[in-house]
Amino acid sequence: MTTLVIANHDNAELHASTLNTVTAATQVGGDVHILVAGSGAAAVATQAAQVDGVAKVLHADADQYKDGVSIEVANLVVSLAGDYSHIMAGSTTSGKDMLPRVAALIDSSQISDIMAVDSADTFKRPIYAGNAIATVQSSDATKVLTVRPTGFDAAGVGGSAELAIIEGPAADGTTSVVGRELTVSERPDLGAADVVVSGGRGVGSAENFKIIEGLADKLGAAVGASRAAVDAGYMPNDYQVGQTGKVVAPNLYVAVGISGAIQHLAGMKDSKVIVAINKDEEAPIFQVADYGLVADLFEAVPELVEAL
């Protein structure tokens, strides 16, 4: 039994979600291999070889893998699939984009977004925005799984796995990335941050989000937003926390001006400590908050920044 973990990376660095995915793979039992498909990504392969619990790193370096185009990466994974009992990728946008292709091409019924490994063929996953947890057993010979990063601790670093250079199939070449508008931020990555400060519709405008950012910077936190705030145009979609956005589980989650719709709670209720600041004492967010402050955010947040 061997699990292949597809590394998520930007050709320079291994994305933190890969470490959580490796932990899920080690819980299955058997060996763990990591596939690094990239272009000029030798540093990522070296980094992957140091992840605890990894026996082997497969490194495919070619132009077609530069932008992580799902068709190219999936074709490579399919060419390797015969050697593996389990194939896993993190539930990031790239994992979600790519892995179902692999599942379809090897005729395996994928299990998405697993949050616990019960045994080598049985997994827990959230359904209905996390309002129910399904325990699912797979009968497929090769299990194809995306892994919710917040469900598993990050694997440690300090190992030294074997590093193998491999060649993939010929490039498909049909899809090209022609533009990227990536959010540039000095703040920590939302999915991996220890502290997250999120704002909702109550923040009132894109301009007012500076208040949220000010608190985040004071706490060394990532900034998030509710779907309502994203829909209202206050923040870009990649800040969205919730069922249809990112799922986070930081040590401290501060929800400011967020009412707490179930779709939002789905993305943050596994946080260790939740603080809610809202002027509406009836807001559902207070039902999941460890510490609630019923107050006008425009007064309370600056006061909080001052007090920290």
Binding site: V69, I71, A74, T93, S94, K96, D97, P100, A103, A104, L105, D107, S109, Q110, I111, P126, I127, Y128, A129, N131, A132, I133, A134, T135, V136, S139, T174, S176, V177, V178, G179, R180, E181, L182, G191, L219, D231, P236, N237, D238, Q243, T244, K246, L252, Q263, K269, K272, V273, I274, V275, E281, V288, D290, Y291, G292, L293, V294, A300, L304, A307
Partner: protein, 249 residues
Amino acid sequence: MKVLVPVKRVIDAYVSIRVKSDGSGVDTDNVKMSLNPFCEIALEEAIRLKEAGVATEVVLVSVGAADIETVMRSGLAMGADRAIRVDADNDIEPLAIAKILKHVVETEDAGLVITGKQSIDGDNNQTGQMLSALLGWSQATFASEVVIEGSSAKVTREVDGGLETIAIPMPAVVTTDLRLNEPRYPTLPNIMKAKKKPLDVVALSDTGVDATKRQTIINVSPPESRSAGVIVGSVAELVDKLRNEAKVI
């Protein structure tokens, strides 16, 4: 160009989910059902392509028992030209759905498939990608903008770090994210007209797909609940609790 829009009936997004006490699943009896919100966005995009003269026909397709026809009619009321229901159980796995859709795409000779990125019940986020792989078509998931230029398309995608724009050849499977458009509400005259639009039923056996389940749902349970904590009286008290009780700052 004919556009195929696969849709799914789901428990309405504003209904609170009740897990059955025997752990067999989620209670769907007497619960309001709706079109999956991401599928509505897909349908809206297809209708706009037809209004712009890019698409010639919008065909709605869904897989399930006769009780899904009510929400399919609301899709027809939004503006789909006709609908196809593949008669099957309501809980078929995404891989089998993708195989069934492949059959429909080929039978209909469609040139574009637009569907939701995920359904809000199973939250699987698989079907579009699987269909693209099975058809050997281009794939553009999590779309926030779709521009079709003859035999190619540019699609802007919502990715973890921001936005990414890809250029792809047609035909393609596109899956929709939230910000692609705002779906219209059907008007009363269109709701009336929708009752007369064709809704064909195809037997699962006619698609040649083996929809046998590969997965067993062993149990469905409510999530661990989180109890409400305390309401603090002031910012100073909050800081004190975070520092000395929770020890997170």
